[in-house]
């Protein structure tokens, strides 16, 4: 298919004519397919499709980390480069004797995990004046806000925390930290109750119980949702509560380096006001990292579902301060990113679409995979269909994809279900003239989640004293693959634990530590010994999407 201007191409209800031919084939097989159930793959078959087609298994995808506490372990090369880059600041840039904010707890990141941690630190008795949160974007601009499908909690009589536990472990290929998984599943129902006490509006049935559906790799209906705005609904309620309590957040202010004391414990951070370009020195008894993931590093050149600030900063900060990373060799590609139309390529099409019954269909109108395999298996199966068969659909800009048969939802659950239960998705496609309740939508895997991260224990403590981590930046909970609905759960459970643990820690810590950048000395020495001289600086803070033509004429004149 030659590259053509989409705007010049005549579109019929959002699609060019040649794509309509395939859409018709999908429509033709729909009624018969409604009753057809694909077999789930065995563990061996899962392994085979992963090895053959998952991007993690490409030979050039991962490299060994050359320095630091996780030396010798593998990470995506895009991450490894940042872990071995030059720090943004050094000792001569900042005056650490002048403290701008002197607090008990500093929380870096203001998405779901950070906000939950702040609230629970406050509930645990830390005065609000002694809690400071900072974020590189606005409060709430985060992957939590974008989580659509739902949050898992085993609360139906047919379900149990033990069943949830085994689903999580199996989904993660039995590589998860079992203690963290236990916390995750046992705390889940109490998180939902806390949300309700704050006023989160979950979807409910006539008996006031939750409307729950299944997700990939879950063996029970366990997904609680708020239409397909679940994360947004949770995030805006948490943020509203934070504001009502009069707690403090610094927006457009990122952390550029942690500060450490004489024993290597974390004692604060250097923050950078991205608008005024000034720095702030924060002294804190404890620091909670809640910086989220790394989707904006575009691992393996994939587009991403992630928010603008997801550049893995927390990994870099923690690693330099001496924290170990786990499971960095595995990256989550969401099976269904939008593959068409072009302006929304890579954006998330929630798993809830499949949870409600939509099947994954190839160009000739046939199913080729059980729609709710764990995410890595589902994604690999779609890549396989697109790159080892002829049964894929090509977009006008040359991308490959397969159909997600969303009209099947209307057939299975009644007319109007798509608009009612998938309002965000329906709106996103309607903006481009596509009615997904009538026509299928084209999808291909997209970079979605950082499975691994900073190692934590059940108290959300990292290996470095005074440093806590929660949410996507932390690793071990999901092992090598996270299941749907467990990230919203994760940010809440471990945000809560981090807030409570940090509060306990600061209560027993009477003196504040020295503020030094001594860990950078050690880090630079290691870089030198390993013979690494990087042109790159990290943390990245924000990706740069400026046009090449402009950048080629750039001058660094200060105005």
């Amino acid at each position: 298919m030659p590259r053509r201007s989409v705007i010049e191409m005549e579109l019929i209800r959002g699609y060019p004519e040649y794509m309509r031919e395939s859409i018709e084939m999908v429509a033709k097989t729909r009624e018969a397919r409604a009753k057809e159930v694909m077999r789930r793959l065995t563990l061996e078959e899962r392994e085979e499709v992963l090895k053959g087609f998952h991007p993690d298994y490409k030979p050039d995808a991962k490299v060994e980390i050359k320095i630091g506490p996780s030396k010798g372990e593998k990470a995506p090369k895009e991450v490894e480069r940042l872990l071995e880059a030059e720090p943004l600041i050094d000792e001569s840039d900042v005056d650490l004797t002048k403290v701008d904010f002197d607090v008990d707890i500093l929380i870096i990141g203001a998405g779901g995990a950070g906000t939950v941690a702040a609230l629970w630190a406050y509930y645990s008795g830390v005065p609000k004046e002694n809690i400071l949160m900072c974020t590189k974007l606005r409060h709430g601009d985060s992957n939590t806000m974008m989580a659509q499908g739902g949050i898992q909690s085993a609360d139906r009589p047919e379900d149990s925390p033990a069943i949830h536990y085994l689903d999580v472990l199996g989904g993660g290929h039995f590589t998860n930290n079992p203690d963290l998984v236990e916390k995750l599943v046992m705390e889940a129902p109490r998180i939902i109750k806390w949300h309700e006490s704050l006023g989160v509006m979950y979807d409910k049935d006539a008996n006031n119980n939750f409307i729950e559906i299944s997700g990939g790799g879950t063996s029970r209906f366990r997904m609680h949702s708020a239409k397909d705005y679940t994360g947004m609904e949770i995030m805006r309620v948490l943020r509203d509560e934070f504001r009502n309590l009069g707690m403090k957040v610094l927006e457009f202010t990122s952390a550029v380096e942690l500060l450490t004391g004489e024993d290597g414990e974390v004692t604060g951070a250097v923050l950078f006001n991205m608008e005024t370009k000034q720095y702030y020195v924060v002294r804190a008894k404890a620091v909670i990292l809640a910086t989220g993931g790394f989707g904006r590093l575009h691992i393996m050149d994939f587009p991403t579902t992630n928010h603008y600030g997801a550049t893995g900063d927390g990994l870099v900060l923690a690693y330099r301060a001496g924290a170990r990373l786990v499971d960095m060799d595995s990256v989550q590609y969401h099976p269904t990113g939008a593959a068409y139309p072009e302006p929304i390529v890579g954006l998330l099409i929630t798993e809830k679409v499949r949870g409600l019954g939509a099947q994954v269909i190839n160009k000739i109108g046939k199913q080729f995979v059980f729609p709710l395999e764990p995410r890595d298996v589902e994604a690999a199966s779609i890549i396989k269909e697109c790159y080892s068969t002829e049964n894929y659909v090509v977009t006008p800009t040359g991308l490959r994809g397969v159909w997600l048969d969303s009209p099947l939802i209307e057939l299975l659950r009644g007319e109007g279900t798509v608009v009612k239960s998938l309002g965000a998705m329906h709106r996103m496609f309607a903006r481009f003239g596509i009615d997904m309740s009538q026509d299928p939508i084209l999808t291909f895997p997209t970079l979605h989640y950082q499975n691994g991260g900073v190692a934590i224990n059940v108290n959300a403590e990292t290996d470095v004293r005074g440093l806590f981590a929660c949410g996507e930046v932390a690793g071990g909970i999901h092992g090598k693959n996270r299941l749907m609905g467990n990230s919203l759960l994760d940010v809440n459970v471990f945000g809560k634990i981090a807030g409570i643990s940090a509060a306990k820690y600061v209560k027993h810590k009477h003196s504040k530590g020295k503020l030094t950048l001594n860990h950078l000395k050690k880090y630079r020495k290691e870089l030198k010994e390993a013979g690494i001289k990087s042109e790159l600086k990290s943390p990245m803070l924000l990706p740069d999407y400026r046009g090449k033509a402009v950048l080629s004429r750039k001058l660094d004149i200060v105005v």
């Binding site: 030659p2 053509r4 201007s5 989409v6 705007i7 065995t42 974007l137 606005r138 709430g140 601009d141 806000m145 974008m146 085993a154 609360d155 149990s160 925390p161 033990a162 536990y165 085994l166 472990l169 199996g170 046992m186 939902i192 309700e196 704050l198 006023g199 509006m201 409910k204 006031n208 119980n209 939750f210 063996s219 029970r220 209906f221 708020a226 239409k227 705005y229 994360g231 947004m232 609904e233 309620v237 509203d240 509560e241 504001r243 009502n244 457009f252 608008e275 928010h307 603008y308 072009e342 302006p343 929304i344 954006l347 019954g357 965000a424 709106r427 740069d544 999407y545 400026r546 950048l551």
Partner: protein, 231 residues
């Protein structure tokens, strides 16, 4: 490969050439602006990229989310960095779901003259005026339902001639609905009690100690016997 067609856009009045087909946000970046304030989720959920624009040869000011709207030839546009709207401060434990509760916290809601400017300025196409009218009637459930898809970009409040802060008032309505009008789930209450009584401790302990091969078998069994959609 065909050459990409270029279009002209006017970002804050300044002319730039960008490839056609880009979203407004990507067009701004292509033109050379590194966005700090004005991009959040980049997927239509956070409301950070509220944009006011005008089409070529048109007088009408329109609104959109920069990340969800394609730039057009001749478009004049600017992102709105911030809306300094008032948010009421309240203790959710102390508010009650009585009919006039929203008006108590946001008395300006009563000033609505039903001009419908808010509805016309909503990039989510919500029936904003209808939910304000529901608040005036004391129908909190309706206000919560109609405002549910709000991304809190603030464009409604920025354009309202009656100075109403629709999106904050709606947040209060939804929280009252979620906390007081929606009833607790009996299943959830029961499960929390069971967890607190330690009902699942033994079973999870057993799973944690189970040899890997046995656990794998148990897992596949569980997957095979997954719940099916009820008829």
């Amino acid at each position: 490969m065909e050459e990409t067609k270029m279009i002209k856009v006017y970002i804050m009045g300044k002319e730039h050439e960008v490839p056609e087909g880009l979203t407004i946000m990507k067009a701004i970046e292509y033109a050379g602006y590194k966005i700090v304030r004005g991009a959040g989720c980049r997927a239509g959920f956070c409301g950070a990229c509220a944009t006011v624009y005008r089409k070529a040869n048109d007088y009408k000011l329109r609104v959109a989310l920069a990340c969800q709207t394609v730039a057009e030839d001749g478009m004049y546009l600017t992102e709105i960095p911030f809306v300094p709207a008032n948010k009421a401060i309240y203790d959710i434990e102390k508010v009650t779901p009585k009919a006039n509760i929203i008006l108590q916290h946001y008395p300006e809601v009563a000033r609505c003259v039903a001009c419908n400017t808010c509805t016309k300025s909503c990039p989510q196409d919500l029936k904003v005026m209808d939910y304000i009218q529901a608040m005036k009637r004391g129908d909190i459930a309706k206000a919560a339902e109609l405002s549910f898809d709000c991304v809190q970009c603030g464009l409604c409040a920025a354009r309202c001639p009656a100075e109403i802060v629709h999106y904050h008032a709606a947040q209060l309505a939804r929280r009252i609905y979620g906390k007081y009008i929606a009833k607790p789930s009996p299943n959830l209450e029961k499960r929390i009690k069971e967890i607190e009584e330690g009902k699942y401790d033994e079973e999870i302990k057993k799973l944690k100690q189970m040899p890997l091969e046995e656990m794998k078998k148990k897992y596949m069994e569980q997957q095979k016997n997954a719940e099916k959609e009820r008829d």
